[in-house]
């Protein structure tokens, strides 16, 4: 553990990495047209948050942050299952995954 979080790597690097990952996720969510990419962007944001959880947990020696990460991963897994199922259903119905084209509730 101590080798992984070496004293040589300061805290804010992790946080910076987390912020960069989150911003990339937001950016991808906003500008990508493919539904799967958008979905992956959301996963990226979740994992960015996970990283900052773990960082702070290590910093403050609080195990709660690590437990929270497990919850987030669990929910993300469930969400991935549901989300992919929806994506497949959408693709079957519309034959496209471009988010701009699937902006109507009705078929």
């Amino acid at each position: 553990m101590s080798s992984l979080f070496s004293q040589d790597v300061p805290l804010y690097w992790y946080l910076l990495l987390s912020a960069i990952l989150f911003a990339l996720g937001v950016l991808g969510f906003l500008i990508k047209r493919n539904l799967i990419t958008v979905f992956m962007s959301i996963e990226l944001m979740l994992n960015a948050v996970n990283l900052s959880f773990v960082t702070f947990a290590h910093q403050w020696h609080a195990v709660k942050g690590q437990i929270f990460v497990f919850f987030v991963m669990m929910v993300a897994a469930a969400e991935a299952a549901v989300g992919l199922a929806i994506i497949i259903a959408v693709f079957r119905a519309r034959a496209t995954l471009a988010v701009d084209r699937i902006d109507l509730m009705k078929l």
Partner: protein, 647 residues
């Protein structure tokens, strides 16, 4: 003294009849509807008779005057109004007429309305009317009386417009209701004045307070009395608000007999008699009542001369006879007015019902020019109607003679002005005799003017009431004004008789009967012997005939001076300026602001999920910026120092 017949039973029986027939009547068998409808007024009548005989006999069931209070209605500060009924001599006479004549007319209606689709509806309305009318008469205070007052107006409206499929009937109902509203305003204002000056609406308390302080004369009492008079002119179809009554003949004929001849239209007379203490304290108001009464009597009688619709002749004669009653009230001869009210209820109900029998017999025709020669075909109707005609003409010894005579005699005693009123009354008596015998001759004598109609006498359910009312029209006046006035004296004050004028009364009576006979003779000459003469007269006096035939153009004048300007004001000022421009403009302005704001804001609602997400991200970033950045330092760097401590 415990009451064997509680007073609340009297109005409540008809109300129960109204509820049963009104709610369930269409599903109930016709015989049951009839039974309920007839039992309601009969029960009230019996309850009253019990009271009346109790009073006259050795063992009084109810002391009279008898007051019952059923609870507090309003109790706010100094305003205290009870649900209270008062049965005194005056209300007893009124109630006997209302329930007695009312019951007869109910029986008549069973025959008259037998084939009408709205049989149950008709009787429920009729019972509703009796409920409100008895409430009006029994009420111990002005507010409860007002409830009955408005209620009979409602029942009248419903029954005039009973055949609402006919536009003219619906219109007539509305006209009656609206014209009555004008009078009701007067009644309401009178009540406000009573509250402001006496602090009570209870009749007996007002009378006590007026009696205690002789300073109450003129001024405010006059205003109250005149406002009440306005209400009375509306309900009792006097000048200037009489115009609704002739149109009210659109209703079924028994309704005309009950509401628009015998009972409801006499409510104004009753109100004046009930509040006679107020009127006694204001000679000016009394004089106004007398002048309005005499003017209406003459005015309506002249219109009645040339009407051809049998019911309209009777309607104008009702207005004219009500004018007599007002004249009687105006010369403070309240007992004479109530006496005439009673006899008039008998003979006018009779006349209307007989007219209804005629109309029924010849298939709904009301134009007298198409009648004639019905004497042989409808013998019972003919004989009963003859009794009514002679009674209203005031020929001895029929009922109308006694009551009309009492009023004319009372008027004659009131100085020179009174003699003028007496003369107007006498002239009216002449006209009355003329137009009533004109109706009689046109309807029953000569040859039939509609040969293809085959009249048939009415069923006994209709003839029975006619016979009873005919007997009452003959004998109803025999009680005599002296005894009647003595009986009523506790309620309306004693009858004023000048001493030493014993012969005067006899002379006046002879003059009145002579005048009535002259009227009969003229009618005989015009409509029995030289039947071409009326037409010649109409040609000889075209302007006069046209004036009368068009009822002095009063409807047209009201239309031009009141209805049209009101309509124009409503359409142009209230409708266009106030409603469309101001209120509508405001609404459009508010709507416009919302539309404009919406047009701006709807650009946000693009429907594009990613733009929403972008706004979300931007918002989150803004919140973050606001929380994380130490704004006090930023502000300090541009020279603004926040003073957190407040000093």
């Amino acid at each position: 003294m415990t009451a064997i017949f509680p007073l609340w039973l009297i109005p409540l029986l008809p109300f129960a009849g109204f509820l049963i027939n009104g709610l369930l009547g269409r599903r109930l068998p016709k015989a049951f509807v009839t039974a309920v409808a007839l039992l309601a007024p009969l029960g009230s009548f019996v309850a009253l008779l019990g009271n009346a005989f109790g009073m006259f006999g050795d063992m009084p069931m109810l002391g009279i005057p008898h007051a019952e209070t059923f609870g507090t209605w309003i109790n706010i500060g100094t305003l205290h109004v009870d649900f209270s009924f008062v049965l005194d001599q005056l209300s007893l006479v009124m109630l006997l007429v209302i329930t007695g004549v009312g019951f007869l007319i109910h029986i008549y209606s069973v025959g008259y309305m037998a084939h009408d689709e709205g049989y149950a509806r008709y009787f429920s309305y009729l019972n509703l009317f009796l409920f409100f009318m008895t409430t009006l008469v029994l009420a111990g205070n002005a507010l409860l009386m007002f409830v009955g007052w408005e209620g009979v107006g409602l029942a009248s409206y419903l029954l005039i417009g009973f055949w609402f499929n006919k536009p003219s009937a619906a219109e007539a109902g509305k006209k009656a209701f609206i014209v009555n509203r004008i009078g009701d305003v007067g009644f309401l204002i009178a009540m406000f004045f009573l509250l402001a000056n006496f602090g009570t609406l209870t009749f007996s308390e007002i009378a006590t307070k007026l009696g205690q302080d002789p300073g109450w004369t003129g001024g405010v009492v006059t205003v109250i009395a005149l406002c009440m008079l306005l209400g009375a002119t509306g309900k009792s179809a006097q000048l200037p608000l009489y115009i609704w009554l002739p149109d009210a003949m659109e209703g079924p004929t028994p309704v005309s007999a009950l509401i628009h001849a015998a009972t409801m239209v006499t409510a104004g007379v009753y109100m004046i008699a009930r509040n006679h203490v107020l009127f006694d304290h204001s000679p000016f108001a009394l004089g106004t009542v007398a002048v309005i009464g005499a003017a209406t009597a003459l005015f309506a009688a002249t219109i009645g001369l040339v009407q051809n619709d049998i019911k309209r002749v009777l309607a104008y004669s009702t207005i004219s006879q009500l004018g007599y009653m007002f004249l009687g009230c105006g010369v403070a001869a309240y007992s004479a007015a109530v006496f005439h009210l009673m006899t008039h209820a008998f003979f006018k109900a009779l006349l209307f019902l007989a007219a209804g029998s005629v109309i029924h017999a010849i298939g709904g025709e009301q134009d007298m020019r198409k009648m004639g020669g019905l004497r042989k075909k409808l013998p019972i109707t003919f004989y009963t109607m003859t009794a009514g005609v002679i009674a209203i003409a005031g020929i001895f010894p029929f009922a109308g003679f006694f009551s009309k005579d009492a009023i004319l005699y009372a008027a004659f005693q009131q100085g020179n002005g009174g003699k003028a009123l007496w003369f107007v009354g006498l002239l009216t008596a002449l006209l009355t005799a003329f137009y009533m015998f004109r109706l009689w001759y046109l309807t029953f004598f000569g040859e039939s003017r509609s040969p293809d109609v085959h009249p048939h006498e009415s069923p006994w359910s209709m003839l029975g009431p006619l016979v009873i009312l005919a007997l009452l029209s003959v004998a109803g006046g025999w009680i005599g004004i002296e005894r009647f006035a003595a009986f009523l004296a506790p309620a309306v004050g004693p009858r004023a008789v000048d001493p030493g004028t014993g012969n005067l009364e006899l002379i006046l009576s002879i003059v009145a009967v002579a005048v009535a006979l002259i009227g009969w003779y003229i009618a005989h000459a015009f409509y029995s012997q030289k039947t071409e003469r009326p037409a010649e007269l109409a040609v000889a006096l075209p302007s006069g005939y046209k004036l009368l035939a068009n009822k002095y153009y009063v409807d047209e004048i009201y239309n031009a001076t009141i209805v049209k300007p009101l309509l124009a004001t409503s359409t142009y000022f209230l409708g266009w300026v106030v409603d469309k421009a101001i209120i509508g403009g405001l609404a459009w302005l508010l709507g416009g602001i919302a539309i404009f704001a919406g047009a701006l804001l709807q650009r946000w609602q693009s429907g594009n999920i990613r733009s929403y997400a972008a706004w979300l991200a931007a918002g989150a970033a803004a919140v973050l910026l606001f929380v994380v950045v130490p704004w006090s330092l930023v502000l300090a760097s541009i020279g603004i120092h926040l003073n957190w401590a407040g000093h």
